[in-house]
Amino acid sequence: MSTASPVRTTAVSAEGLWKAYGMGEAQVVALRDVSVEFASGAFTAIMGPSGSGKSTLMHCLAGLDTTDRGTVHIGDTAVTGLGDKALTKLRRDKIGFIFQQFNLLPTLTAEENITLPAAIAGAKADPAWINQIIKTLDLADRLSHKPTELSGGQQQRVACARALASRPEVVFADEPTGNLDTRSGAEVLRFLRTSVDDFGQTIVMVTHDPSAAAYADRVVFLADGQIVEDMAEPTADKVIDKMKHFEELVAAAQGEHA
């Protein structure tokens, strides 16, 4: 389904990540020595059952959460150990976010929401680039609308445009289709695919939907805080098939680890 570019550099990488919540008896280990690389210009899906640590992994990669051990790099920047100010600047300049709940500002119009990251940075968004995104997402006649006047699919497309507006190094999408109907979800996924293919955007998407994962170039399976499978060129059937045998995968991985 994808056409991978011939030369690939690494956009995001994690090395030996550990993350635990709570203390003593109540301690839950969310990430257990996770090392993974995401090539630039690729669309990667992270999958796994509830509690597998997929969201934690994404949060750690995006500089939203701290790690207990291990390092994260975005491009050449070492994320681990950065202070709040530097992290904020990193997120602003190098990372785009797409949330399940869209998270648009209700007081701003669609267009203002799209240029929000640039506005926060006190910079002017590149108008040609913004126009191109708007055209691709078919939002031209919705620009002056407030989020409450838009459908869920339109809101999520605005959120996609916002994520891409600052040409970030990587876009993290957290269950982007979780709140959408099938048709709107497919539209959003097609756009993500297009942005990878046409604009060379790097995307890391957390999802539990096999058909969403099928849009990706690669699927990383997580279970109990460990990577249990790395699948290239996924299809929905292959993913479903893999998930059917998930328990065996987990058992194998844990056996390996023990």
């Binding site: 949060h59 995006a62 939203l64 959460d65 709040d84 100010k85 904020t88 600047k89 997120r91 602003r92 300049d93 990372i95 785009g96 976010f97 949330f99 399940q100 709940q101 998270n103 500002l105 209700p106 007081t107 701003l108 929000l116 990251p117 506005a119 926060i120 940075a121 006190g122 916002r162 957290d174 269950e175 979780g178």
Partner: protein
């Protein structure tokens, strides 16, 4: 349901604590006002009871029949004293001579300022005096002074003090003793006192007549007070009256009550303003709390709670909050009232001991108001909450703002009706002055209420416009949009500030206009450049020796100088304001007056002049005869009306020839007008006049500005008092803004998380909240200034006929109000902004 309400309250301690501050303030002011009133009364009663302690009956001059009689100290003649002393059942009599005089301190100024020095005769038994140094005065040239007088005047044993009364010239006395009072006090009620020999005191107070102010009568053993009073009544004569010591004290107590009531009412007024503003705040808090609990309430309804139960549970919460806050308020108020009493008693009354009285009404009123206001304010949100359909529990809370159409339309109707009433009243179309004035006032009140209701509608455009100030900054832009997001909430929050600012702006505008009108008149009509006069606020009116007038007239560049004497005389049975001067025509000319009839020739001894409305009041005209008795006069004189003046505040009153000055209460001139030659250096002339007045400690030369300043000094006090009111309203407003902002921050947690996730810094987050806060506060202040100016303008117009014909805007004060609003916004933003900056990004964006 009740348990659920209590648990809910426990979970929202901070917000409830904030709200309760408003209730506490209101209740505390009310309790403090009542405690202070009762305590000062008790303290002063104790102080009063010290006077003539041990005496059984007191003989005083008969009650004055008119104000002019009251002004002059009436005496008990020596014959009455002799008669009392020889009455059966009288053991002995202590005779007191006592009245206010002026004494000059070592700095050349009159001692005491507003409170005059009291002259007494040494050896009376009115108070227990204890000599500390020296001895009692033995000759007419000797005095003993109270310790407080010694301290205030800077004069001590062995030095001389200059003293004089309204009728005597300055005289020097040798200080031979310094005394204090029982209990080691330096003064009674903070007053200064000089003790003379009886003869000298009588010369100062009664113009040398052998008379007394009070006779304290001590009964012989076996004679009761009532018997004594009965025995004395027939012997004292018509000009005196006798009362028992108990009745005398009751009378003194009643006099004090008038004063303490005024102070108490002032504090009560503050309490009521705090309570009024609190209603908005409490209603808002409950709306907010309920909004956050809609799902919970819907769930309760779904599992079978009735609407009544929902209302009751919220009212129970309000009742509990109100009770706790009102109880704390009552306690704070009682403590504050007691502390304030001690402070006042020590600094003003120098009381030996402070009696704190806590009337049960103080606590009951504070509790009733605190609880009542809280429950009433919670009623509307409670009823609204009970209408939540159970299905809300199943839905994601879709927060749709209720439309503000009804509120806006009714607000507009009320404001228009008020405006109409004001317009009719101002144009005099309501028939009759009282109706016009009432109509204008009621209209002003309606406009006020109407605009308060319109705030929600006004908030959209106004908040947007105000926020433009910050639009250069992105965080500011977001803050401004947030401020305009929930018009109803923004409006209620801003209203708390608006009310206070409207009240102060309206009064400040009116008072400034009155001042400006007076200044305007002086600038245009008054010909005299300088005024020789004393402070407007003093117990003994300032006066000076007329001999200095010749010195003033001799100054280069002084074209004319005229002195004026004042008195309140009995004219045809009414109290009237009477002037006299050596130059009738000059005074009319210099004060800018005009004659309607007659001429400005010198008045003959049997002629009188008067302004039009005073003449109309007595129904007299040119050539009619009036009868006048002056303050110190013993006989009535007949005068023929020889001139009538056009009404003019500065020249209103009656004028007689200077021949009657000796019968005036103050036999010395109280003011002089000086006409400076055109083109002369006024400052140089002022200095020369001041030189001429070097030996006159009570008066000085004042130019127009200073003179108007003295005349309008009361307005300055009034304006200051009103600013205090604003300060109080602002404290409540700060709490309201904090409440609203914290709620907004909580509601927008997800939004804040998103903004932080996509790269908004903590600093920008803080700025965003500050802008929202300041915008809301400024919105309230701008509305308040606008409505206040409008009301002030309307009042000024209503009073234009009474001479307030200039509309003046108190620009400095208004700038101050706006600055204060910004400060309110900044203060209120501190906690919410810190909270917003600390938003946990992961928690905020995590799924529900």
């Amino acid at each position: 349901m009740l348990r659920a309400a209590l648990k809910g309250m426990a979970a929202r301690k901070a917000r409830l604590a904030l709200t309760s501050i408003a209730i506490i303030l209101g209740s505390a002011f009310i309790a403090a006002a009542l405690v202070l009133t009762a305590s000062i009364q008790a303290t002063v009663d104790d102080l009063n009871a010290e006077a003539y302690a041990g005496a059984d009956a007191l003989v005083q001059p008969a009650d004055a029949e008119s104000r002019s009689e009251d002004l002059v100290q009436q005496g008990i003649p020596a014959e009455a004293l002799a008669a009392v002393e020889s009455t059966a059942g009288v053991d002995h009599v202590a005779a007191t001579v006592s009245w206010a005089i002026s004494a000059i301190g070592d700095n050349g100024k009159v001692v005491g300022g507003l409170a005059p020095t009291t002259a007494v005769n040494w050896g009376d038994e009115a108070r227990e005096r204890e000599l500390r140094e020296g001895r009692a005065p033995e000759t007419d040239g000797e005095v003993a002074v109270s310790a407080k007088f010694a301290a205030d005047s800077g004069l001590g044993l062995g030095e001389t003090v200059t003293a004089y009364s309204q009728t005597t010239d300055q005289t020097e006395y040798a200080i031979v003793g310094v005394y204090g009072y029982a209990g080691g006090r330096d003064s009674i009620s903070g007053g200064t006192e000089i003790a003379f020999t009886t003869a000298e005191a009588q010369r100062l107070v009664f113009d040398g007549e052998d008379a007394y102010s009070v006779l304290a009568v001590y009964a012989a053993d076996g004679t009761g007070a009532d018997d004594l009073v009965a025995a004395l009544e027939p012997v004292i004569g018509a000009e005196s009256q006798v009362t028992s010591w108990e009745d005398y004290n009751a009378e003194a107590s009643a006099q004090t009550a008038k004063l303490t009531k005024t102070i108490g009412n002032f504090l009560l007024g503050f309490g009521l303003v705090a309570v009024f503003v609190s209603v908005f705040l409490i209603a808002n808090t409950f709306s907010i709390v309920i909004a956050g609990r809609l799902k919970e309430i819907a769930m309760m309804r779904a599992i079978g709670a009735g609407r009544g139960q929902v209302v009751r549970s919220i009212l129970a919460e309000a009742l509990l909050l109100g009770t706790i806050a009102a109880a704390v308020g009552a306690a704070v108020g009682v403590a504050g009232g007691a502390g304030l009493t001690a402070a006042i008693a020590n600094s003003f009354f120098d009381a030996a001991q402070v009696s704190v009285a806590v009337p049960p009404t103080a606590i009951l009123a504070a509790l009733a108001v605190g609880i009542g206001v809280t429950v009433l304010a919670a009623l509307v949100p409670a009823v609204r909450a009970s209408r939540v359909p159970p299905v809300e529990a199943m839905r994601a809370a879709a927060k749709t703002d209720r439309p503000i159409t009804l509120l806006t339309v009714s607000g507009a109707i009320i404001a228009l009706a008020g405006g109409g009433a004001m317009a009719l009243g101002l144009t005099g179309n309501l028939g009759g002055d009282t109706a016009d004035l009432t109509g204008t006032a009621v209209g002003a009140g309606l406009v006020f209420v109407g605009v308060t209701m319109l705030t929600a509608w006004l908030s959209k455009p106004l908040v947007g416009a105000l926020g433009l100030i910050w639009s250069w900054n992105f965080a500011g832009k977001l803050g401004r949009r947030n401020a305009g997001r929930n018009p109803r909430r923004t409006a209620v929050t801003a209203s708390a500030l608006m009310i206070g600012v409207t009240l102060v702006t309206a009064t400040a505008t009116l008072l400034t206009s009155v001042k400006a009108s007076i200044e305007d008149y002086f600038g245009e009509a008054v010909k005299a450049e300088l005024f020789v006069t004393g402070p407007a606020v003093s117990e003994v009116p300032a006066s000076f020796d007329p001999a200095v007038m010749d010195d003033i007239r001799a100054i280069d560049d002084v074209d004319a100088a005229v002195e004026v004497y004042y008195d309140i005389a009995d004219i045809d049975g009414t109290d009237q304001y009477v002037n006299t001067t050596t130059d009738f025509g000059g005074i009319v000319d210099l004060f800018g007056g005009t004659l309607a009839e007659g001429d400005s020739d010198e008045l003959a001894d049997d002629e009188i002049a008067v302004n039009q409305s005073a003449a109309d009041e007595l129904g007299v005209g040119m050539g009619d005869i009036v009868t006048a008795t002056f303050s110190r006069g013993t006989e009535a004189h007949e005068f023929t009306v020889a001139a009538i003046l056009v009404d003019n505040e500065n020249t209103d009153g009656w004028y007689v020839a200077p021949a009657y000055v000796e019968e005036f209460y103050t036999t010395k001139p109280m003011m002089a007008l000086v006409d400076v030659a055109d083109g002369a250096d006024i400052d140089a002339v002022t200095a020369a006049v001041d030189d001429a007045l070097a030996d006159e400690p009570e008066v000085s030369a004042q130019n127009h500005e200073e003179f108007v300043g003295e005349v309008t000094v009361f307005f300055d006090f009034a304006i200051i008092a009103i600013q205090l009111l604003l300060g109080l309203a602002m404290i409540v407003a700060v709490i309201g803004v904090i409440n609203t902002l914290i709620l907004s921050v909580l509601e927008r947690t997800r939004e804040l998380g998103m903004l932080r996730a996509i790269g908004m810094t903590r600093g920008q987050t803080v700025r965003m909240v500050i802008v929202e806060s300041v915008t809301i506060a400024l919105f309230g202040a701008v509305l308040g200034v606008a409505v206040g100016l409008g009301l002030g303008w309307a009042l000024q117009n209503a009073l234009a006929d009474s001479g307030v014909d200039v509309f003046a805007v108190p620009t400095t004060l208004i700038a101050g109000y706006l600055a204060a609003a910004v400060l309110v916004g900044l203060l209120a933003a501190i906690a919410p902004a810190a909270r917003a900056a600390k938003t946990n990004i992961l928690g905020a964006i995590a799924y529900e």
